[in-house]
């Protein structure tokens, strides 16, 4: 018998707090067929954990559309004019963490996703936030 969600929620657990690296990024594979919430396509999502910022956690697409490679999680966190960004490791464009906007190219924006801690578990909604 398939388990059926009693209390369906779009929030999916993806990893533990201890999997995160402070001041840096890791990558998770999220989405797919879900029994506890809506099914969504599978996506590589980059998670950044910055303990002394608010919020502490950011989730953006791992795919770098400029370089054409899944590498965003491996970029350096850079503050640019007061805004937290991640610099792509390949060609160094900056993407704003809060909304994915590329600072060098107004046409390009990475999708961002709601992310939060549920105790020590990291949960996200693997559906892009509306712009």
């Amino acid at each position: 018998m398939t388990e059926v969600a009693i209390n369906p929620t779009p929030w999916q657990p993806v990893c533990q707090r201890s999997d995160l690296v402070a001041e840096s990024g890791v990558c998770v594979l999220a989405g797919g067929v879900s029994v506890t919430g809506p099914s969504t396509p599978r996506r590589s999502i980059a998670l950044f954990f910055i303990p002394d910022s608010d919020p502490q956690l950011y989730a953006v697409d791992n795919w770098d559309p400029i370089a054409g490679a899944g590498v965003i999680a491996r970029g350096l966190i850079a503050e640019v004019e007061g805004e937290l960004t991640v610099a792509s490791p390949l060609y160094k464009q900056h993407f704003r963490l809060r909304d994915g906007q590329c600072l060098e190219d107004p046409e390009i924006r990475l999708a961002t996703y709601p992310a939060a801690f549920d105790g020590d578990t990291v949960v996200i909604i693997p559906m892009p936030e509306p712009t």
Partner: protein
Amino acid sequence: MVKQKLIVIGNGMVGHHFLEQLATRPERELFEVTIYCAEPRPAYDRVHLSEYFAGRTADDLALGRVEQYRDWGYELLLNETAVAIDREKRLVTSASGQERSYDRLVLATGSYPFVPPIPGHEHGKCFVYRTLEDLDAIRAASENARTGVVVGGGLLGLEAANALKELGLEAHVVEFARGLMSVQLDEGGSDVLRNKIESLGVAVHTGTATELIEECDGRLRMQFKGGRKLLTDLIVFSAGIRPEDRLARTAGLELGERGGIVIDEDCRTSDEDIFAIGECALYQSRVFGLVAPGYTMARNVVAQLCGESASFTGADMSTKLKLLGVQVGSIGDAHGRTDGAAAITFVDEQHGIYKRMITDAEGSKLLGAVLVGDTSDYDQLLQYHLNDIDLPEHPEQLILPAADGEPPALGAGSLPASATICSCHNVSKGQVVDAVQGGCCTLGEVKDATRASTGCGGCSALLKNIVDEELAALGMEVNNHLCPHFEFTRQELFHIVQVEEIRTFSQLLEQHGNGHGCEVCKPAVASILASLWNDHIHRRPHVGLQDTNDTFMANMQKNGSYSVVPRVPGGEITPDKLIVLGQVAKKYNLYTKITGGQRVDLFGARLEQLPDIWRELIDAGFETGHAYGKSLRTVKSCVGSTWCRFGVQDSVAMALHIENRYKGLRSPHKIKMAVSGCTRECAEAQSKDVGVIATENGWNLFVCGNGGMRPRHADLFATDLDDETLIRYIDRFLMFYVRTADKLQRTSVWMENLEGGLDYLREVVIEDKLGLGEELEAQMANVVGTYQCEWKTAINDPEMLKRFRQFVNTEEQDERIVFVEERGQPRPAREAEIVKVAEPA
């Protein structure tokens, strides 16, 4: 609307500039433009023609582009030489019969090289130096040649001689006049130039007239007046240019006595509707053989066609250039021919420097100048000349080497707004200032906006000064601060970290910086911390600081996979280790390539494979090669005295010793070294940051060389050193560099920016003038003593290994990294080759 028919004959640099300027105007719509271009391709950069031999391609040199002309709505007739102008019918005809009618005609036919009518000059191994095809022919002829002669010792002749030398030929210059570059230089200047050029290995024969060229055993024999002879394989004529005025002549336009199409201030020929611009034009009995005046004429005609008034009143012919590596500058009346002119001369025979200023009788205005061997004063002198600025009380200080204190500098600030900064594109200081005030914040933006410094490049230093000064005046910071988060230079931060014994980035940020840091300061501080304390770069506080390459101790490739480069000290490797490299590559399906640094690179490893690959390599005795770090890369070696019949020391053993000593040293930029076993220099040590060459008595030490974007030969630093002194000097040199260089500054640029340059460096390292010697050595000893193979530490630390997971929540692979096979090895698939995977909605 009926369009006016406009024909341009000749598509060289000036013709192109004309077309480009016209294209920027709305009035371009009023014209139907046709271009006759005799060459097989549209205009290219003739000024930088010689760079064709240095590796630039025809494409790199292109100015005009077929598509561009099409976009502008121009009709371009390539390979079409205009042969007749019928002024009655207003018709132009080409050699192949292409006929077009015109309302207005612009002649931009340039000039052609003059070949003196010496018997034998038409021989197949005699060339000229004007077009890309000429250069192709010279290159082909040089392949089986040993010797090349240039006839003509002017500006172009010396450039051609340099080209022959670069092609590997023994080069000679034969000049009829008494001295070299007699148009631009006075006698004294020309003598100094000659000495310099001879010392570079080019033979100079001045006051020599060629009487006959004949074939002799498959080579060419030149016979000179007075009986001397010279055998050569090819000859390049560079005996001046003649205006290309044949078409104008047959059309009955007025020409000068010695050729050239006569033009007035409007650049009009004797026919109202025909203009002439560039090197084919003659204004007040002068032809202008430089691009800048031609560009001015072109803009002038564009203005007239658009109904504006403009006039050409001659042009400044000052030039600054580098010939065979010798700097030469000539300004205004270099010969002092003006009535009452007085001269001030400075000669330094030892260093081959000659400087001469020509002033008016009162010594208050600068009429001209000649500079040989050192043109650092050129920009300043030119501004005095062009803008008629009053000379300072002691004008000689403008050319004397600074004794105490600076010479009276003419800051960019003291130039009037009308001062021409870039003569190629006629950009004034006022325009540059406007551009900055209009929002351009960087040199690049100013260049794009004004085009200044995009021609010959001669004005770049001055342009930078003005831009910096203007930015500063607007209250924008022009500083060497590392980044907005630290108001210190790298050197200052190094000092702070050292003195206050700061161990982490966050500590430094808290006490001396602000904000969160960025991709500039984080790796720079990480490098300082590593140079000083040499912690493992993956220790928790340092993790977020590293660039991806340092983070994963591998070089990220374009598709997100990594390359693996184990250290192969000195390039020496046992057969067993070679086999292991092959086995590992095979097992993990890696692309293998021998690098330019005498080792093997394994490409295409996935992030999660890196630890396994390294475990196998480390088990076989390999260590990390730091190909990812700003640190010591490789020490190249040649086989040296052990095997080579010429070797005088064991270069391999020394290279091994050096590589093992400095491996792991983190520095402002990467460091490369090499050791050669004798002066034949098979290890190319003179192109390295640290180069060591064996002598009978020990080692010669070279420093501050590099390849790359701006190659620089290393300088000889000390000679005949014993092993111990050699290492001591290298220790001190490297640590002083690590301490004082700016971020991402190679040793060459660092040294060039050190006040006092190489001499100062010698004082610090050899004479220990700052008393730092021991401290630098101790610091190096600490780095050497705390070395660890970062990969070895990492594979034994589960916490560190956690980083090497593609996904922290599953063991799956990144399915968007795809390889295909080529020449028996994998390579990243191109976009079109990847079968689309489920694309996120």
